[in-house]
């Protein structure tokens, strides 16, 4: 057997080799396999590696003074392995998918740069979760952010993409700064950036330092994860990036924020099981509920497929955060088993979201690849032209809507059970506020189903809404295979959730192990009776049994009948065309009307008349409806414009004349001399 360490080094080298091969390759026929096969092997090995860690011992590897003053410390424990497993599975599927998908870019751009960035991006994420030193954590974090930034603006011909890339760059560095401060606070206490020393001495930190570390980490990692109101980069960067990169970013990269938060909260910031820390959890629950609800509300009115998915990522990060926050609250009141339940819910949803969001972004990528449009209003009817893509996309849509028997249902079920268990917290204020926090979560789950009905129906069903559908073909086999891997993972984790549940509880050393594959979850109430049980394999069996029974019953009962095909019922009009269909915008109109305070939707209609004096004979009506982004308008725009205003003022000192610069130098020297003199006095 190869040791874990060698395996780890091999994985890193494979990705680096892939990156080098990428740089060296030309735009030839074999360029794409050459670039994407090394990360495929690397990802597969990463999956094996993390399973090995989860079942065995943690890996610890230190290279002293790799960079002067800093040791490269690698520490892969269960938590890191859990996230590595997630990265491995998703990046395996995405690499496979990319072989076909990047053909698109081979024509217009240099694929070699893409290959280089892709490999570095994936390996930087693997290194982020395995580094055990603040300095290297930040280095890899920055590497991940920068490579993803370059990948976002890879399609740099469109000015829009450059703009969203810049927003992403600014926001991600804003976040990094907060993470840096959080680590710095730890450094000031321990004198070392090593996580080990932080881990050992953080329980004795002053309470204020712990709180500050948490708050800074929350803002920093929250920016990466896309918590409202720090989410503004997410719906811009995800749609701009090539779809395979969006899949990686949304499925895995934003989870690095969750990873960092979990690390800081449960490992590094000296969390203690006292009610003093309950407010950490409450902050997460509140931020999570807000993110979930606002994310899904923006998703349901959006008409760009990829932006819908991006907003839905914000929503799912919200659900993950609610679970995480509940876990912290329970832990701070010594409710260990409930804390485990909430943490399992949160982590299971993390990995589930990685699967279905990766799948959905790849599905969206296939649609864009085939039709060259992201606009739902122009799509439709693809279910006949792209049968496999639509089937796999449907699996993703059902999973993300939290419907049985797929994986999203199980993790949302766990999260709801964790919410229901909040009645055991011995604090009335918390009980009531958590109960009320379930309100936005339930609304989110309802709206999410609507969002994905809308997304699937507008993209794949009914008639095409524009004249593009002549040359559309199903995407290549490796793209379908990439999606199929994640779709089967969704189905597997839905039907046998004990796999995912035991995986998350092993990673976090929780006492929460399903006793058999059939027994997914069983909770008990105070009097020892069953609080709730869920056994998805049996549910799946019952569903299929029911299907067989109904099919047989109808077969026996019904007479000999025929099925004929005829036009859609149009009240006999006979000329139903695609312009009369419901569109994405009209479908969500009731939702827009109900939540109009949030959207501030603006309708505008312009009538052209035959005769100006006669308002009844109308030649044409132009109707425009737009929604506004209140976060952009009320939070970011004032900040950006005031920053620009201040910087404009400051710019005036840059006169360009040598005399004035000499004056600045002289003034500086005088000020410095004065400073030195005064400080010595």
């Amino acid at each position: 057997m190869i040791s874990d360490l060698v395996l780890f080094q091999v994985i890193v080298l494979l990705f680096l080799g892939g990156a080098m091969l990428g740089l060296a390759s030309r735009n030839g026929r074999f360029a794409r396999p050459i670039i994407f096969i090394p990360p495929m092997i690397g990802s597969a090995l990463a999956v094996l590696f993390s399973i090995d860690i989860l079942t065995g011992k943690p890996l610890s590897w230190i290279v002293p003074n790799m960079v002067p003053f800093f040791n490269l410390e690698v520490f892969v424990d269960g938590v890191s392995a859990f996230f590595m497993l997630m990265i491995g599975i998703v990046s395996f599927a995405v690499s496979l998918y990319s072989i076909g998908y990047s053909r698109e870019y081979q024509v217009t751009k240099r694929i070699s740069v893409f290959g280089f960035l892709f490999n570095v991006f994936v390996v930087s994420m693997l290194l982020v979760v395995s580094s055990n030193n603040g300095f290297f954590f930040l280095v890899f974090w920055e590497l991940m952010s920068l490579t993803s930034f370059f990948l976002v603006i890879y399609d740099h011909d469109k000015e829009e993409n450059i703009k969203s890339g810049m927003t992403y760059l600014v926001m991600t560095h804003f976040g990094t700064a907060f993470i840096f401060v959080s680590f710095l606070l730890g450094y000031l206490q321990t004198g070392s950036l090593s996580f080990d020393s932080l881990r050992n001495s953080s329980p004795s930190f002053p309470f204020l330092i712990k709180n500050l570390m948490f708050v800074f980490a929350f803002v920093g990692f929250g920016t990466k994860a896309g918590i409202v109101p720090l989410h503004t980069w997410l719906p811009k960067a995800h749609p701009s990036a090539p779809s395979n990169i969006s899949a990686l970013m949304s499925a895995v990269m934003i989870k690095m924020g969750i990873y960092g938060l979990v690390r800081i909260v449960f490992d590094l910031a000296g969390f203690g099981a006292t009610p003093d820390f309950a407010w950490w959890g409450m902050l997460m629950v509140v931020a999570g509920s807000a993110s979930a609800l606002i994310g899904v509300l923006y998703a349901i009115v959006e008409r760009d497929i990829k932006r819908v998915l991006a907003y839905s990522s914000i929503e799912n990060i919200g659900i993950i955060l609610i679970g995480l926050g509940l876990s912290v609250i329970f832990a701070s009141y010594h409710l260990a088993s409930l804390s485990a339940l909430a943490l399992v819910a949160s982590m299971f949803h993390t990995i589930n979201h990685a699967f279905f969001k990766g799948l959905l972004f790849m599905g969206a990528g296939s649609v864009v690849y085939a039709t060259h449009t992201k606009d739902m209003e122009k799509l439709g009817g693809l279910v006949r032209l792209m049968p496999w893509t639509s089937l796999l996309f449907l699996v993703g849509a059902i999973s993300i809507s939290g419907l049985p028997p797929f994986n999203g249902f199980v993790s949302e079920w766990l999260a709801l059970q964790a919410l229901l268990s909040s009645s055991q917290i011995p604090s009335t204020i918390l009980q009531i506020s958590i109960a009320f926090a379930s309100l936005p979560l339930a609304l989110t789950i309802g709206l999410a189903a609507g969002t994905f009905v809308r997304l699937f129906a507008m993209t794949f069903l009914s008639k095409a809404r524009s004249k593009f559908s002549l040359n559309i073909r199903e995407v290549s086999r490796n793209m379908i295979a990439g999606m199929a891997i994640l779709a089967s993972a969704c189905a597997l984790f839905g039907i046998v959730p004990s796999l995912g549940i035991s995986l998350s509880s092993t990673a976090f050393h929780l006492p929460y192990q399903p006793s058999s594959p059939f027994d997914a979850v069983s909770l008990q109430n105070a009097s020892g009776k069953s609080f709730a049980n869920l056994s998805m394999p049996v549910v799946a069996m019952m569903l299929s049994g029911m299907a067989l029974a109904v099919f047989g019953f109808i077969r026996v009962m019904s007479g000999k009948t025929t099925k004929t095909t005829y036009g859609t019922w149009d009240c006999g009009f006979g000329n139903l065309n695609e312009r009369m269909e419901y569109t994405a915008t009209s479908l969500s109109q009731p939702i827009r009307a109900v939540f109009k305070a949030l959207f501030k939707s603006h309708n505008e209609s312009d009538k052209e008349l035959y005769v100006r004096t006669n308002p009844y004979l109308v030649k044409s009506i132009i109707f425009k409806s737009s929604t506004r982004n209140i976060f952009e308008e009320n939070l970011y725009n004032p900040i950006v414009s005031s920053t620009i205003l201040v910087l404009d003022k400051i710019r005036k000192i840059q006169t360009g004349k040598i005399n004035s610069y000499l004056l600045y130098i002289m003034l500086t020297i005088i000020l410095l001399l004065l400073f030195v003199r005064l400080s010595h006095a």
Partner: protein, 313 residues
Amino acid sequence: MPSIPDIAIGIIQVLVIMALAPLMTGIMRKTKARTQKRMGAGLFQPYYDIVKLLHKDEVVSDQSSWIFRISPWVNFVAIGTAAFFIPVFLTPSPFGLVGDLILVVGLFALARFFTMLAGLDVSSTFGGLGSSREMMISALLEPAIFLAIFVVAITYGGTNLSTIVEAAANSALLSHPQLIFAAIAVFVVILGETGRLPFGNHSTHLELTMMHEAMVLEYSGKSLALVEWSQSIKQLVLFTLIANIFVPWGISSSILPLALGIGLLAFVIKVSTLAVGVAFLESSVAKWRLFRLPDLVAIAIASSMIGLVFYYL
């Protein structure tokens, strides 16, 4: 491992629900007819309708895909499976170990997901209209459902329906005042979920006033039979829920034949009374404007919230 008789009675309960479901629709139609001083169709009319539809041909839209074709089946299978988790006339259920109230809500949501897709699949404006409205109402109802579940679950210690119904059957009358508020919420939810007035009108012929009917306007023959039958099963499942959680009188806790008989009788009487009540309500209110419905849902949510605060304080 539950015993064979337990499972058998569980399955019999589902068959009872499936068999009685069209009868409840018949009772409601009859009641509505009587309030209009009409004789109305016989109580068994919904059965005759279903049998007739099973013998009719199908006309399928040329714009439709396999989604449209499987939707009635998914609908029936999801709703039929949900019926397994509801105690009908016997409290201990072996299926309580498999799923709970939230799974029931999830299965209903699965059925609705496919119905909405089918409405949009045929590129008909009516289907889109129905799906659009259903999307809004169902999303708004979700918090009302969950908060009501919240109140019930913390009162009776679980979302496992057997636990809930057993605890309810053993508790004294009105010992949990918060449940009254939850019951109000659940009642509004049932009206919304089954598309009863003031949410929607089952007997409407005008497409513009439709909600659920607009989505199934394209179905014919077998598919329509499945849609209608599963719709009545869903209605009866919801009636059974409200009857057995909030008025668990007469429900049997053992598998003795006499107790089961009394349980079955009590069940039929309870749900029929509820059906008659809902039909009376339908006869006395008009359909609300679509954008007034959120107010009604808000009342349901507020009611559950009051129930929650009642419990905790």
